[in-house]
């Protein structure tokens, strides 16, 4: 018996019904729900058998149960604000519903609803998803679910308005969208925060790295994020410091290298030897000024090209394959000095000597070659002219002296009228000194020849007279400047020729006359005379000068001996003139001597033998 069910009292004859029949068989039977006329809510009859001890049915208790209670229970079911649960019997009548009006006495059958009829006929499995959606009797689209109470053939239905069910869903969806939007917003905010906190420093790092790449090594990072980025910035700055130091060191090294290179370059360019350097493959790396002068090839035409293409050195007619020398390794050094070695280019042919040296960096193999070559024109000329060392030296010493004296003379000439007195004197002294130097050079060279026994005289039969006349002509100006009267006492009749070297003998005479002028006071005289005595032609130079102390006379013809000169300021001799004169006279098979009295004057004489007929015949008369 259901709790709280009231019992209708009264007695009646019970008609047979399936429920009653069931009770008679010993099982509880429950009737269909029905609506008693005096009741608003349906009720059911429950038949309960009464059995004896043997189990036979001896009576049946009939209870009438209203479904109010059930309705109340259903109405208490919490199905949200709008959800309802109700019960339908097998005829589609609502027998329990929270809203009393909906209950079956309204005679509304909802058997048409699939959730009811399909369930009744085929069980839950026969329901399709679509069956759960329909519009209910109140014209409200709903979602429902149902369950069969099989013993009563009732169907319990639960309905929720669709709007509520999906409203929740919509709400959820909207919530989700809003959530997503908020999420996105948050992401943006976080991204901004990250970009400020992480990307900012990284950008700074990047731009700093770029500045460093562009050469601004002073670029440093200021990152104080307190995290790995700061560590990174620290490392970066340390790297930049290191780079800056290395750069500074490098620059220092560079500038000292450059200085060294400039020095080397200057040295190289100032060499009179042509120098060119080639790399291992024979390509020209360097071509100095002298190389340009000797070859006539300018540096731009040479550098970067193959040595064999640019310069052609020949050994007689054979082309020297210069690039092949670079195949040679180690200590190989080639030196070619032989005659016939020439540089050729078009019509130009320059005699050269050649040196090829490897460039061997310390502890490494050959990295290139230096070819140096010298213009041998002059050397070959000297050689061709059979000139000895002294002749070469003479030439090389005379050239700068020529320029020195030449320019001094030009300065004297051009400034004569404008220079103040002391400066003019100084300039004159410079000139005198240059002349002395020139004279000393000539004399020293002669001494050298005399001592080596190579002083040569080229003897030809000549009238000494003409030599004297010519020499004195050249000395007249000097005599005039010193206010000395220079005269030649010509012999009355023509004298025979002697075998003489015209120039050498003129040098002797010049020496003697110059000495006479030097050691004679202004207003004095120097006389030259020539006489024939015992097949000797005697030339004498007499002056009325101060004379020579007797003690000096034995030393007069020795090297570097000089009598103290009290006159002719600046006309200091070299002490070599008489020594050389004696040597020259001796070479002419003659003698030289002096007669002198201190305070009276001196006479220097030299004798040259008269030429024999044989000598004259063999030599012929020379102009």
């Amino acid at each position: 018996m259901a709790e709280g069910q009231s019992l209708n009292q009264g007695v009646s004859i019970e008609l047979s019904s399936p429920a009653f029949d069931q009770a008679k068989k010993g099982d509880d039977g429950i009737s269909k729900a029905y609506f008693p006329t005096d009741q608003t809510s349906p009720q059911v009859d429950v038949y309960s058998p009464i059995t004896n001890e043997q189990g036979s049915v001896i009576g049946i208790i009939k209870s009438q149960v209203t479904l109010n209670t059930l309705t109340q229970i259903f109405s208490r079911l919490n199905l949200g604000k709008d959800g309802v649960a109700y019960i339908v019997d097998d005829e589609g009548q609502i027998i329990s519903h929270p809203q009393a009006a909906k209950i079956a006495n309204q005679h509304v059958s909802i058997l048409g609803r699939p959730v009811v009829n399909k369930l009744l006929k085929g069980g839950y499995a026969s329901l399709q998803p679509i069956d759960h959606y329909y519009t209910n009797e109140s014209n409200v689209p709903v979602v429902s679910s149902s369950n069969l109470i099989s013993s009563l053939k009732w169907v319990a239905v639960v309905e929720q308005p669709e709007s509520k069910v999906f409203g929740q869903l919509l709400l959820t969806r909207n919530l989700l969208l809003v959530g997503m939007a908020i999420g996105l917003l948050l992401l943006v905010v976080i991204a901004l925060a990250i970009s400020n906190g992480l990307a900012g420093p990284i950008m700074e790092l990047k731009s700093s790295a770029k500045r460093i790449q562009q050469g601004d090594l002073s670029s440093r990072l200021q990152i104080h994020t307190g995290d790995e980025l700061q560590d990174l910035a620290g490392s970066f700055n340390a790297m930049a410091n290191e780079l800056q130091e290395r750069e500074a060191h490098l620059q220092q090294t560079n500038s000292s290298l450059k200085l060294e290179r400039d020095r080397q370059e200057t040295l190289l360019q100032s060499l009179t030897d042509g120098v060119l350097a080639v790399d291992g493959s024979g390509q020209i790396l360097l071509f100095n000024k002298a190389a340009e002068v000797i070859t006539g090839i300018i540096v731009n035409q040479a550098v970067g090209r193959s040595i064999d293409e640019v310069v052609h050195f020949f050994n007689d007619t054979t082309l020297l394959p210069l690039s092949q020398y670079s195949d040679q390794q180690d200590e190989f050094k080639l030196q070619l000095h032989q005659r016939g070695l020439t540089f050729r280019r078009g019509r130009i042919s320059v005699p050269v000597s050649l040196t090829v040296s490897p460039i061997v960096p310390q502890g490494r193999s050959t990295s290139g070659w230096v070819v140096s070559f010298r213009d041998m024109t002059k050397e070959h000329e000297f050689e061709a002219m059979k000139l000895d060392f002294v002749s070469m030296a003479a030439h090389e010493l005379r050239t700068p002296l020529t320029a020195l004296r030449g320019y001094l003379s030009i300065i004297q000439e051009e400034t004569e009228k404008i220079l103040p007195e002391p400066v003019r004197v100084f300039l004159n002294r410079s000139m005198i000194s240059a002349n002395q130097l020139a004279s000393l050079v000539e004399n020293l060279l002669n001494v050298s020849r005399i001592e080596r026994g190579v002083l040569k005289v080229d003897l030809v039969p000549l009238q000494i007279e003409s030599m004297i006349t010519e020499t004195l002509t050249n000395l007249m100006e000097v005599a005039r400047q010193n206010q000395i009267q220079l005269t030649f006492d010509q012999p009355e009749k023509s004298l025979p020729p002697a075998m003489i070297d015209r120039f050498r003998l003129a040098e002797v005479l010049t020496n003697l006359v110059a000495n006479g002028i030097t050691y004679t006071k202004r207003g004095g005289w120097v006389k030259v005379s020539l006489q024939l005595k015992e097949h000797q032609l005697i030339t004498s130079v007499t002056d009325n000068g101060e004379g020579i102390p007797a003690a000096s006379i034995p030393h007069l013809f020795t090297k570097f001996y000089r009598v103290q000169a009290s006159l002719a300021q600046g006309s200091k001799g070299t002490g070599l003139g008489l020594f050389i004169s004696k040597a020259i006279v001796t070479a002419h098979h003659g003698t030289i001597w002096v007669d002198s009295k201190e305070g009276k004057g001196s006479t220097f004489s030299f004798s040259i033998p008269v030429a024999t007929d044989e000598e004259i015949k063999s030599m012929g008369r020379s102009a």
Binding site: I294, M385, A403, G406, D458
Partner: protein
């Protein structure tokens, strides 16, 4: 040298070259110059000079070679007087120069620039002969 004379100086030494150029220019004579033997030949053969002053120790071609080239029968300068102006005073060289056809041989060291000018000037004026144009001293 009243009428403009064309003079070629073949001299490799810049100082000496300019020294002579200066002194000649003062007298109104422009010295044309060649700096080496080859240039000397080229200029001599290209121009009509009244006289050529020729050094001996020259790059590329020596003065003796230049002289030889200019004294070839086909040389245009065959008739142009050539005075050697050198510091080489060796008698054998002087002889050789005259043998080839030099018209004079002066030692630079013996003469101041003005004296060189005067000698050349007088020679051109016909006042000096070949013998006068011989070095007054030869010590080599």
């Amino acid at each position: 040298m009243a009428d403009a004379k064309r003079i070629l100086l073949v001299e490799d030494d810049l100082f000496i070259r300019e020294m002579y150029q200066h002194i000649f220019a003062k007298e109104g004579v422009i010295l044309e110059v060649a700096e080496d033997g080859q240039e000397g030949i080229d200029l001599a053969e290209a121009g009509q000079y009244d006289i050529i002053l020729l050094d001996i120790m020259l790059p590329k071609k020596s003065g003796i070679e230049v002289l030889t080239a200019l004294r070839k029968p086909e040389a245009k300068s065959l008739k142009t007087p050539i005075i050697l102006l050198s510091n080489l005073g060796q008698a054998s060289v002087i002889k050789e120069a005259f043998r080839i056809g030099a018209d004079g041989y002066l030692l630079k060291t013996d003469l101041l620039p003005r004296q060189v000018y005067e000698k050349v000037s007088d020679f051109l004026a016909g006042k000096l002969t070949k013998e006068d144009m011989l070095a007054s001293q030869s010590v080599d």
